[in-house]
């Protein structure tokens, strides 16, 4: 056992150290703090870069390089970046094979170059595919379009700031004089556009020339310039990344992208200033990819009038608080195992310390999100997962402080690890700080109903877990009636608390329904899911009171409670009907099914084993008269 634990810990360390590291040719530094508008809210560029990288790679870093450095490299050295294997295509296997690129499950990473070349060869069929009825598309076709859109978006992202680069020069001094610019000096696209009238006059003169006419050097330079500008203008489709605040005091208006305002307009002073600020940042990096741009970014952010909490968000992004808390929960669990092995009080105290510190960090993460978004902690599916996880661990810690027999430690650490892991998978979908649709956009109901029902979920899960622990102890320590009974009582007590929160939360949901769309109850899947948990818990508790469920059958039934929670939480989203649906992915159904199978197998497997096992010997006979009714004990 000791060897097993040791190798387990070593493996964990090895996993943490795993992964090639990449020496970044750039260092974005404070560029991360530049405020941009994305998905309806203002956020630091760092968050934007992370959600973009997540889209392509399903990870917020690439070979140890941060997302913001990756984005800057893509802008400064696109040719080099195009060769990097950024795209993770594990879920798009059929599309990759269909595009004629070899698929390797062990190395499902592809460069932009590889993918774009394959796509370029099939442009016509892709165009036809995009016009095909979405319902009629095969799985491979849908995937192919996903790949196509990702590659196109990547291309646009890489060209988003090309208008800021001072890379247009005029070598011919006559032409330069005519346009009013300096020969040999590099200009940005904007600076050229400011001389658009002189440029148009030159162009008109050139257009008057007949084919076969001899052209002079100035005209030849003009032809070259036109070609350069045409190539540049091809990037106009890179209207991505809203980084220019509209004029006025309102931060909430629609921001523009760099190419979005290069539409031939005459820039206002406001627009010109905003663009110049970005040009300065770009030029600094072009000059030195490791430049310190803190002052320039601060100047660019100075036009903001409302308090965008981007520094808090940067800290939140960098600190990985939920990962740290998961690691601490894991340490807590490992120390707990060690304390069982060595029967040491101090090791179990260490385990408790890890759990408590992990919980504090976990709650800190949630509080930071509340501060950043200025709204209650639970509004999206992801937020509900991390909140339920934290609350569950909190109650487990309270139980541990009351009982001091490590039951709270085992329940809290196991649940914390599992739920935080599920949360971390959902965090890979992109920016987790999302804006809420109109009906959810209410602080009052998020604070009351959503909070209460989330607490209900966590305590119902805890009751189920306690029942798991009870069954486990009955199998492993069949003679220890005292411990069995003690865990049984805890599970019953927690189930009563779960009844309170789930019932109250469900009724509050009904009242919200009555306030929002005029009916208390509409048998919508999400409502039914919540009712399922309530009815299940009520049936289990009343079954016990009625004598229909004995100690063992009660625990088996209670151990199945997590199934009802999972169905209400994730399962109803699979149905996609009603007003509450907020997320769906293909794999969820399968994972949910496996979870249900595991839970049923655990509860019934252990329950049947205990029931049919050879009755314990005389050793436990003396305990038979222990009163097992929680009501009268």
């Amino acid at each position: 056992m000791k060897t097993f634990l040791l190798s387990f810990i070593i493996c964990l360390g090895a996993l943490a150290a795993h992964g090639e590291s990449y020496e970044s040719p750039v260092k974005a530094g404070d560029l991360a703090a530049l405020v941009v508008q994305d998905q309806g809210r203002l956020k630091p560029l760092d968050t934007y870069a992370r959600s973009q990288l997540l889209l392509y790679r399903s990870k917020p870093t690439i070979n140890g390089q941060s997302a913001i450095d990756w984005l800057l490299e893509l802008w400064l050295f696109p040719e080099q970046a195009y060769e990097r294997k950024v795209f993770r295509m594990l879920d798009e296997k059929d599309a990759i094979i269909g595009l004629g690129i070899g698929f390797n499950r062990k190395d499902p990473y592809y460069s932009f170059r590889t993918l774009s070349e394959a796509i370029n060869e099939r442009m016509e069929s892709l165009r036809q595919l995009s016009e095909k009825d979405p319902e009629a598309r095969t799985r491979a076709e849908t995937q192919t379009l996903v790949v196509y859109r990702k590659v196109m978006q990547y291309l646009a992202l890489s060209r988003a700031w090309t208008a800021l680069e001072a890379d247009i020069t005029i070598s011919n001094s006559a032409l330069a004089d005519a346009i009013g610019l300096e020969a040999g000096k590099a200009y940005t696209y904007r600076e050229f556009m400011e001389s658009r009238e002189a440029l148009a006059a030159e162009l008109q003169a050139l257009q008057g020339r007949q084919a076969g006419d001899n052209i002079n050097e100035k005209e030849s330079a003009m032809v070259d310039l036109v070609q350069v500008l045409q190539v540049k203008m091809a990037d106009q489709s890179a209207d991505i990344l809203q980084v220019l605040k509209p004029e006025g005091d309102q931060d909430e208006g629609l921001w523009a992208s760099v190419w979005g305002i290069m539409d031939g307009r005459v820039f206002s002073d406001w627009e010109a200033s905003r663009i110049e600020e970005l040009e300065a940042i770009y030029a600094a990096f072009k000059n030195d990819p490791f430049a310190d741009v803190s002052g320039l970014v601060e100047a660019a952010n100075a036009s903001l009038t409302t308090g965008v909490r981007y520094n808090a968000e940067l800290f939140y992004n960098k600190s990985n608080l939920f990962l740290i808390s998961t690691l601490l929960y894991t340490f807590s669990f490992l120390l707990l195992l060690l304390s069982y092995m060595f029967n040491s009080k101090w090791v179990s105290v260490g385990s408790l310390a890890c759990l408590v510190v992990g919980l504090l960090i976990h709650m800190g993460g949630i509080m930071m999100r509340v501060y950043i978004m200025a709204r209650p902690p639970v509004g999206t599916l992801y937020e509900s997962i991390i909140f339920v996880s934290a609350f569950l661990v909190l109650v487990a810690v309270v139980i541990e402080f009351i009982r001091r027999d490590t039951l709270g430690l085992i329940l809290g650490s196991v649940a914390g690890i599992i739920l935080n892991y599920i949360g971390s998978r959902y965090a890979l979908d992109g920016d987790t700080n999302q804006m809420l649709v109109a009906v959810l956009n209410t602080k009052f109901w998020l604070l009351t109903h959503v909070q209460t029902i989330s607490i209900g979920y966590s305590i119902a899960l805890l009751a189920g877990l306690a029942a798991h622990a009870y069954l486990f102890v009955r199998v492993t320590k069949p003679d220890d009636r005292e411990q069995q009974l003690s865990i049984f009582k805890v599970s019953y007590g927690v189930a009563l608390v779960a009844v309170f929160f789930t019932t109250f939360g469900t009724i509050l949901g009904g009242i919200w329904g009555d306030q929002s769309w005029g009916r208390f109850w509409g048998w919508d899947p999400k409502e039914n899911g919540a009712l399922l948990i309530v009815l299940w818990l009520l049936a289990v508790v009343h079954g016990r009171l009625a004598g229909r469920l004995k100690e063992l059958s009660f625990s088996v039934a209670l151990a199945l409670t997590p199934i009802t929670v999972a169905v209400a939480w994730f399962g109803v989203n699979l149905l996609q009907v009603g007003l509450h649906s907020y997320g769906f992915d293909d794999g969820t159904a399968k994972k949910l099914l496996w979870f249900c199978i595991f839970e049923v197998a655990y509860a019934f497997g252990l329950g049947l084993f205990i029931h049919f096992r050879k009755k314990p010997g005389k050793g436990s006979a003396g305990n038979k008269n222990l009163n097992t009714s929680p009501q009268t004990s």
Binding site: G40, L254, L407, A438, L538
Partner: protein, 381 residues
Amino acid sequence: MSDRKTKSGAQKLIDFLATPEIFFYTAIWMIVLLVFGTIDQKYVGLYMAQHKYFSSWFVWVIFPGGRLAMTVMFVNLFCKLVFKSPLRWNRFGTLVTHSGMLLLLLGGFFTAYFSKEGRMVIPEGQTSSYFDDFHILEIAVIDKSPADHDAVIAFSNEYIEEGAVISDSDFPFTITLESYHRNVDLGPIEGEAASHLRGAAKRFQLVEQELKLEHETNMAGMLISIKGLDGDEDGTYLVFQHMRVPQVVTAGGKEYVIELRNKRYQLPFAVELIDFVQKVYPGTNTPSHYSSLVNVVSGDFKREVLISMNEPLRNLDYTFYQFSFFEETSDEGTVLQVVQNAGRNYPYISSCIMALGLFLHLIIQVPKLIVRSQRKKEVSA
């Protein structure tokens, strides 16, 4: 045992009706209904599933439906509360919780039988004083002859069935429903129309369609034969929901409009839409806010109110919720959900009572269950 022998039949019945076993088994049956009723929503839609599993007394003829299950729960709870709840301090929480639950079920009963809900569509700048039921239909016979108003007589429920006969002293003709379908499409008549066909029925026929999952998007249609009209107008007519050109007939020298429409409820006041506003988060299609600025008009008195998501308008017994909107080339407007519900206060009261009861139960019971482990010394030894 001797005690039981002396009990009367009524007492035995009450004893039986108050047992927690009844709740246990009913709750399990409700869970079964919930699971099937929720999954079936994917296939038959929310409205149909609700009617089949939850608002019905029986499912597939023999199985108890949601309404029966909840009635059984109500009776069980009532007997338990009235006859079998000893007034002991440690049972006080349970007693209060059960009272709250009883009230909640009672509210459900009132809502199920006495509430009206529907939608009110108002284009910007216009006024409306009625709302349409979401699902229930009616046949309206409208006498247009009075100068200042339309005289309307409407028939719903049992009149919307094949074979139903509609007549009234206020109009001199009789309508018989020849055929009726809840969802139809219109198809052209092939060949020459039969001689008894009149109006739109001369050119179109009803083609029955499968019911759509979103029940309110179904378009009902019917063939009706009318007798007692002027001239040679007697014959078979076709009417369907949302007809652009209403069916007009003449009888006794007066014109009547025959309409198949969603059941219409008149309000004792009117609502005028001043402005509808929809906002999205910048750069996205995600709506952040909807609102309707309206005037509530009662006689000469006008009251300006802003209805928005989660902030309805309440006036008399009616509540108006921001439900949807429409946008057409010529005009835009709001769609409000209107509800008149006699049971709407019950959940508010019962949730307070239940929360209090459950809380009392918890503070009485839980400290006895989650206690310091006796094994602590052993572990730390």
